[in-house]
């Protein structure tokens, strides 16, 4: 079952940028690409917990600001020679609004 909630307008996040959503279990980074795709990921790099929302967004990936690990926004997988994976959450855009699925966000906080 899904439970989509409206968290913000698409335009609240710059293209090739990200903003943070605060949850009880910590921060989720919501990314917007140049093609207006939206992705939600744990805001923490598997390497040294760098805040991914502060990274440079390119294609459908983000580079962590601390040590330049590159993470796929689609899969959460670390790219290149490094290894690891970031949790990803369902996100979509409808009528210019960004929707996140609270079921998943809550499941995450329970975990």
């Amino acid at each position: 079952m899904t439970d989509w909630i409206d968290i913000a307008a698409l335009d609240d996040i710059p293209q090739r940028g990200a903003r943070v959503v605060k949850t009880r279990a910590g921060c989720v980074a919501v990314f917007r690409t140049a093609a207006d795709e939206v992705f939600a990921l744990e805001n923490s790099c598997p390497h040294k917990q760098g805040p991914l929302a502060e990274g440079i967004v390119h294609g459908s990936a983000v580079t962590c600001p601390l040590h330049n690990w590159v993470i796929s926004l689609e899969t959460g997988l670390v790219q290149g020679n490094d290894e690891g994976q970031v949790a990803t959450y369902p996100a979509r855009v409808e009528g210019g609004r960004i929707l996140l699925d609270t079921t998943f966000l809550q499941a995450r906080s329970a975990a």
Binding site: K22, T23, A35, G55, I56, T63, L105
Partner: protein, 810 residues
Amino acid sequence: MTQNIIVIGAGMASGRALEHLFDAGADVNVTLFNAEPRGNYNRIMLSPVLAGDKTYEEIVTHDADWYEANGVTCRFGERVASVDRTAKTVTAENGDVLPYDKLIFGTGSNPFMIPLPGHDLDGVIAYRDLEDTELMMSMGPQNKVVVIGGGLLGLEAAAGMAARGVDVTVVHIMGHLMERQLDEAAGYLLRKALVDKGITVLCQANSKEILGEDGKVKALLLDDGTELPCDLLVMAVGIRPNVALAQEAGLAVGKGIHVDDQMVTSDENILAVGECVEHNGAIFGLVAPLYDQAKVAAQTILGDEAAFVQKELSTKLKVTGCDLFSAGDFADAEGREDIVFRDPGRGVYRRLVIEDNVVVGTVMYGDTADSNWFFGLIRDKTDIAEMRDRVIFGPAYQGGAPVDPLAAVAALPRDAEICGCNGICKGTIVDAIEGGATDLTAVKAVTKASASCGTCTGLVEQVLAVTLGDDFVMPAAQSICGCTDLTHEDVRRMIKSQELKSMDAVWQECGWKTRDGCHVCRPALNYYLIADWPLEYLDDPQSRFINERKHANIQKDGTFSVVPRMWGGITTPDELRAIADAADKYDVPTVKVTGGQRIDLLGVKGEDLPAIWADLNDAGMVSGHAYSKGLRTVKTCVGTDHCRFGTQDSTGLGIKLEKALWGSWTPHKLKLGVSGCPRNCAEATCKDIGVVCVDSGYQVGIGGAAGMDVKEVERLIDVETEEETIIVIKAMTQLYRENAKYLDRIYKWMNKVGLDWIRERIADPEERDRLAARFDLSQTVYQKDPWAEHAQKKAAIYRPVANLTLEAAE
């Protein structure tokens, strides 16, 4: 049996025919007559001789040794009086009668002299032989010359003399230059290039009369009344085959001496080659068909089967800096279509004339690198239906195996220009390499090739590779990142030359392989665009590293550090109180004094940044840019204010410099220091730019560092006043901004371009002022406090876009 062969005229065609005969080991006894008092030389190279690029000795094709070795009886400076075909004899001017088995006419052509009144005055010449060339070479900057005729030869004569500083005017009767080889558009570009060389070009100009004084030319009068004063008048309006002797001998003659496919005239024992010939109604002025004729004539004499076939011809102009090429037929006609490529910004023009999907003609101007490929399409009558949509872009865009650039370089002649800035030809570079200059640096040092703008570096490396073969290791050009094969230098050149003013334009024009770059190339491109187009380009925060996007230094725990500016390291009790209050208010865990003489508040939460900045702004402080690839600090000592050794007001100068430079973006961080005396308490000699004050003024050094590498500055310049110091440093900063690779500190960049190159620019007062002016212009846009701007207008982006902790609690 030995054949007696008499050759009349030592030109390029007859010379080549003799070479073929001797190479084939023909059993012949040759007598060579020449009206000019010399042997065979490469007449088409007279233009480079005129321009001073070559000497006469370099263009001689056969010297006395060659004639002797081949048993040629040379009768140079002697004309042939008559030919008796029945007796098969030739009578020389002095009455000698010589028998022949075969007679070869190589009498060439005569320049056509327009029979204007005054054409027989002294100083009215054609452009035909060495004597003409020498006369033109005797002209200098004090002379005026008029050239009648805007064709190939006339323009080469004009350009050659212009290169010697002569004031040259070209008078051309048609609407555009070289109308037989070029269309109007290319003619226009050529005219523009010649005018840029200082040549005056008059088209649609009718000559009326040549005016003289004491039997010597004085001016050319046009029919519109214009009088063009001149010391020399060169007529280069065309040539006529020289047929007089053949006509007297009773040979069949039209425009030229009639020959068949074997180069035999109407008399089976007489052949003719070169410009004196008429074959199937055509006469010949370019060298390629003349050489073909020479070969056929030699084979005919040897008794071999051979036939002369007229081929498509192409033309190149031998004028430095005017690259043009034309081939085939490009007149408008029914059933013909054009494909035209035009880039006026680069001065490139390319036109293909197509008939039934076959290229029948081409005109190229500006970029003729692919001319041989296009010529091949014409010659081979290639069906271009398949590649019609991209044929105009040349061989690199046709798919299939890429053209090997090394093969192209290997095929270049010795006189092909490699380095345009210094006019260095391939031959010079090859000689240098064979003389021991086996890498780029050495070639640069010996020949100056690629030592100016550097654009030809790749070509020079290819010449090295071709010349040295396996001994050469091509240094791998480091591309910016995986998104492109281009280097920083390539891209920067593109941004400037193609006027690329947006990130999208760079990606498109430079063929980026990724949709929107990556964390490596985007900050670099953003910097280059800011530096090169301060007024046009809009800074892109999303292409900046977080520190520059949020104007604070990110720490390992995701918090930030905040450093307000303290001009020249000077502060006040009020500022210190405001800093202390801010540290309390925002629970700043660490307060540290930095090496740049200011205070760092470490551990500020991202959300609190706009608020702490607003508080510091209220106390009169602005961002210290401690996070930027830009001006960081100007470290000072107390100078004459308090110090008993100080020679100048180092603190005051430091503050002025910081106030002039703050806010500017540079390729890497930029740290300055000003010391009040050579004791150097401000450690100015290990800064990117350091000033050491002395009694007589200010010593400015550059290229210091105290990071991963420790470097002492090298002296750039000594100046006397504070004002001059500030201008020098602004200019120096701008030079660095405009030329260095992103993330190169000054010392790294200096190692690449050389201190001398930097010094020359900064030492030149005009260049220095221009650089400083461009720096000031950029500062009108970028010298602003980002803290104030963000605290007032962009505070929202520092907060979470949504807070679900509250909702979940409900």
